[in-house]
């Protein structure tokens, strides 16, 4: 029989189901940090290509299997594709 502590459990990250450090945040530490990287990443892509839409940027990120980090991929999939 598993005894579960009565201590309150913090809400979990909807992507990885890990406890969120800060219940005010939508995601866990890692997925939050990944989400914060998307905007500066998009600006770098915009500078490189001259013009690229946000949607195109996200779509192409998902195609870069093996290069794009899992946390980035997961946040893109969760927030922009499957919601």
């Amino acid at each position: 029989m598993i005894k579960i502590s009565s201590k309150k459990t913090l809400a979990v990250c909807p992507i990885c189901k890990k406890n969120k450090e800060n219940s005010q945040e939508k995601y866990c530490k890692n997925h939050n940090a990944a989400k914060k990287l998307l905007k500066p990443g998009y600006l770098s892509w915009l500078k490189a290509y001259g013009s690229v839409s946000w949607d195109e940027f996200l779509k192409r990120l998902l195609d870069l299997e093996g290069l794009v980090g899992d946390f980035i991929k997961e946040i893109v999939e969760y927030e922009f594709y499957f919601q």
């Binding site: 029989m1 990944a34 490189a48 794009v68």
Partner: protein
């Protein structure tokens, strides 16, 4: 004759009195005895099935008995399973570990103690050797000081020199620095492993051993930190210009002046400007470049080179090198030194190597040049020189792997006596409008040391044709290629070892073992090392709740403390007292957060257990078990097996192979041919769905569903 010790009577047929020599291993005892005996014929006595050697030198009878590494281990004095545990004692290893086969060795030293008029410690000259010898001396022989032989090879020359120049007493600073490492590792290991395990038990009621050590924590921390960087990586586009020119009817790769172009528009403009594919030679230059030999091997560089060339793990390389040392073929491998002092007698070593057919040509060439000053590196080690061959001829007992390491050590040694390599490097500069391209060539003028070190290093040549300045050049093509920045590489065992060296985590002697422990505990996996969910879970919790255990500062500070004890700048007792107090404070802090840490750790463990177990569907063979993906932690290889294998009444042996690259996912679909699960396999952009059975008719038809 009979001796009595602690009320127990022991038999020994050796005539007393004698000088007792303590060797670290049986093979070392044999070599020491054969070298020290005046007639090189020591008598062998079997005591408790252990060979003990009796030799005569300078009218002294010397009895040399072997240990088998450590015969003692630290154990807590109290018996309660709690923390903090701050009191410990040394106990014979066989009394606390069922797997320790040390009892007979312990008994032999006990039986030899009383007849010993004097003791010489002949263990390896490093901290561990000092501790091994001292503990036998103190707890089995009942003395606290002894003479000490210090040697770097087990050759007759070095052993006799070490005997003649032996120290009259132990270096207490050196010994204490070895002892303190044991105390600190034990204190940290036992307390934090207990604290973590109890924190989880308090929250879940379940007991699960979660161990973390003083050095393992930061090492695992580095692996997880790198993994996080990879998982957080966002690739940024860039472009390269790729081109090929024809010179003297041959094709050469031409390098554009910028290796990376960050803006697409600029890359497009370059291609537009160069669309005529015609350029002019605007400069031709050449210069001599020199390549010097690599420094002699210290342990870390030997381990890295053996990994690079043979893919031997650092722990295996150390094992093979130690065997070669015990066979008196190479010097002591646990060294940080890249120095080869002239006192080693290089001319003699090279002469001996010239008698081995594999090395005779190059050894003779070096001898004939009469330049015996090797090229050395910067690193030093007070105890030992760099790893070098002794010149002794290997016999047939060497394994294939040992022979590879031997060849590597000999060739590296020969290479440090070689001349520098001379390479003529040429550049042809081609200009197209305002854009510059370079064709690069190289010609080996003198191979120098490289020929001694082949095949472990070689250079390739590209001879450039003679060309006229201002002549026209035609390009085969000039193209721009879109690329993306890449995430950092994961560690392999060699690069993780290098990182530990850079971060000053652990010592030369312990690093390989620590990496192995991380694999054994299931914290990391694969040849390209990645942390397991368990490893990530443990580090995640510790990083947020108790970062000291996964940061390298603490372990680095302790290395400094050990150095101070060694140099007698600080006293061992006061140092231990301080460390215990600090640890107690840290554990009090841990205790305050115990429930929080336990809760996070438990959640992470549950998630890691879930993510480790991938169930594909019911087994079609036994109809009882589940088909699950099993992954070997060490090799990273995976396969599918039935969970009913562990059910004694079923013991289903159904297994199916899996590709070892790419990602495998469950699809919840069943194969229409045999009812087995269909998996999805993806590598890069390639993605297939297939039945798990290699004999499935769909595969014979060439279907990929």
């Amino acid at each position: 004759m009979e001796f009595s010790y602690n009320g127990v009577r022991y038999l020994s047929s050796i005539e007393t009195p004698y000088v007792l020599g303590i060797a670290e291993k049986p093979q070392a005892a044999r070599r020491l005895a054969y070298a020290l005996d005046e007639n090189n014929k020591p008598t062998v006595k079997k005591l408790r099935n252990i060979s003990v050697f009796v030799c005569t030198r300078d009218n002294n009878r010397i009895v040399i008995a072997p240990a088998v590494g450590h015969l003692f281990t630290l154990s807590s004095i109290g018996k309660t399973w709690n923390y903090p545990v701050l009191d410990y004692e040394w106990v014979p290893s066989h009394t606390v570990s069922k797997t320790a086969r040390t009892k007979n060795f312990t008994d032999v030293f006990k039986s030899l103690a009383k007849g010993a008029s004097n003791v010489i410690i002949m263990t390896d000259f490093d901290r561990e050797g000092e501790v091994i010898g001292y503990l036998i001396l103190k707890y089995l022989i009942g003395k606290t000081d002894a003479e000490r032989m210090k040697f770097s090879t087990l050759t007759v020359r070095d052993i006799l020199q070490a005997y003649d120049q032996r120290e009259k007493s132990l270096d207490m600073g050196f010994l204490n620095s070895g002892l303190i490492r044991h105390y600190v590792d034990w204190l940290y290991g036992i307390n934090y492993s207990r604290a973590l395990s109890l924190a989880v038990k308090k929250v879940s009621g379940q007991f699960k051993t979660i161990s973390i050590g003083r050095v393992q924590g930061p090492t695992l921390g580095s692996v997880v930190e790198l993994e996080n960087k990879i998982k957080m990586f966002l690739p940024i586009p860039f472009w390269t210009i790729e081109s090929e020119v024809i010179l003297d009817n041959k094709k050469f790769k031409a390098f554009y002046e910028k290796s990376k172009i960050e803006i697409q528009k600029e890359a497009v403009q370059i291609i537009k400007d160069c669309s005529g594919l015609a350029g002019k030679i605007t400069d031709v230059s050449s210069e001599m470049s020199y390549q010097y030999s690599f420094p002699p091997f210290d342990l870390g560089s030997l381990q890295r080179e053996a990994y690079r060339y043979f893919k031997f793990s650092p722990s295996k390389t150390l094992e093979y090198a130690e065997n070669l040392y015990l066979k008196a073929l190479i010097s002591y491998p646990r060294t940080d030194s890249q120095k080869l002092p002239m006192t080693l007698g290089h001319k003699t070593i090279l002469s001996k190597l010239s008698n081995q057919s594999d090395y005779s040509t190059f050894a003779n060439e070096i001898i004939s040049r009469k330049k015996f000053k090797p090229r050395e590196g910067k690193r030093t080690d007070a105890a030992h020189p760099a790893i070098h061959p002794t010149g002794n001829v290997p016999d047939n007992s060497l394994s294939a792997s040992e022979r590879k390491i031997y060849d590597l050590v000999v060739k590296r040694y020969l290479s440090v006596f070689g001349r520098r390599a001379e390479i003529l490097k040429g550049i042809i500069e081609i200009t197209v409008k305002t854009h510059k391209f370079e064709v690069r060539g190289s010609k080996i003028i003198d191979e120098g040391w490289i020929k001694y070190y082949k095949p472990y290093f070689s250079l390739s040549e590209q001879i450039l044709p003679d060309v006229q300045l201002n002549s026209d050049v035609k390009f085969s093509y000039i193209e721009s290629k879109e690329d993306f920045t890449s995430p950092p590489y994961r560690y392999n065992e060699s690069s993780l070892l290098k990182n530990m060296e850079t971060e000053k985590i652990g010592t030369k002697a312990t690093r390989a073992g620590i990496i192995k422990t991380l694999f054994d505990r299931g914290y990391v996996e694969g040849k390209v090392i990645s942390p397991t969910p368990l490893g990530v879970g443990v580090v995640d919790v510790l990083q947020s709740q108790y970062p000291i255990l996964v940061k390298s500062e603490m372990t680095r500070n302790l290395e400094d403390i050990m150095e101070d004890v060694k140099n007698k700048k600080t006293n061992i007792d006061s140092t231990i007292f301080t460390i215990k107090n600090e640890l107690k404070d840290l554990l009090i802090l841990f205790h305050k957060k115990e429930e929080e840490i336990g809760q996070s750790l438990y959640e992470n463990l549950r998630l890691s257990e879930k993510s480790e177990l991938v169930v594909l569907g019911k087994c079609q063979k036994c109809k009882k078990g589940d088909l699950r993906i099993i992954k070997s932690r060490k090799s990273g290889k995976r396969f599918i097996s039935c969970s009913a294998y562990f059910d004694k009444s079923v013991k289903c042996t159904a297994t199916y192979p899996l590709p070892n690259t790419g990602t495998v996912r469950s699809t919840s679909k069943k194969c229409p041919h045999d009812g087995l699960p269909i998996i999805e396999w993806q590598r890069g952009k390639r993605k297939y769905q297939m039945c798990i059975s290699p004999d499935c008719p769909s595969k014979k038809e060439g279907d990929k569903n």
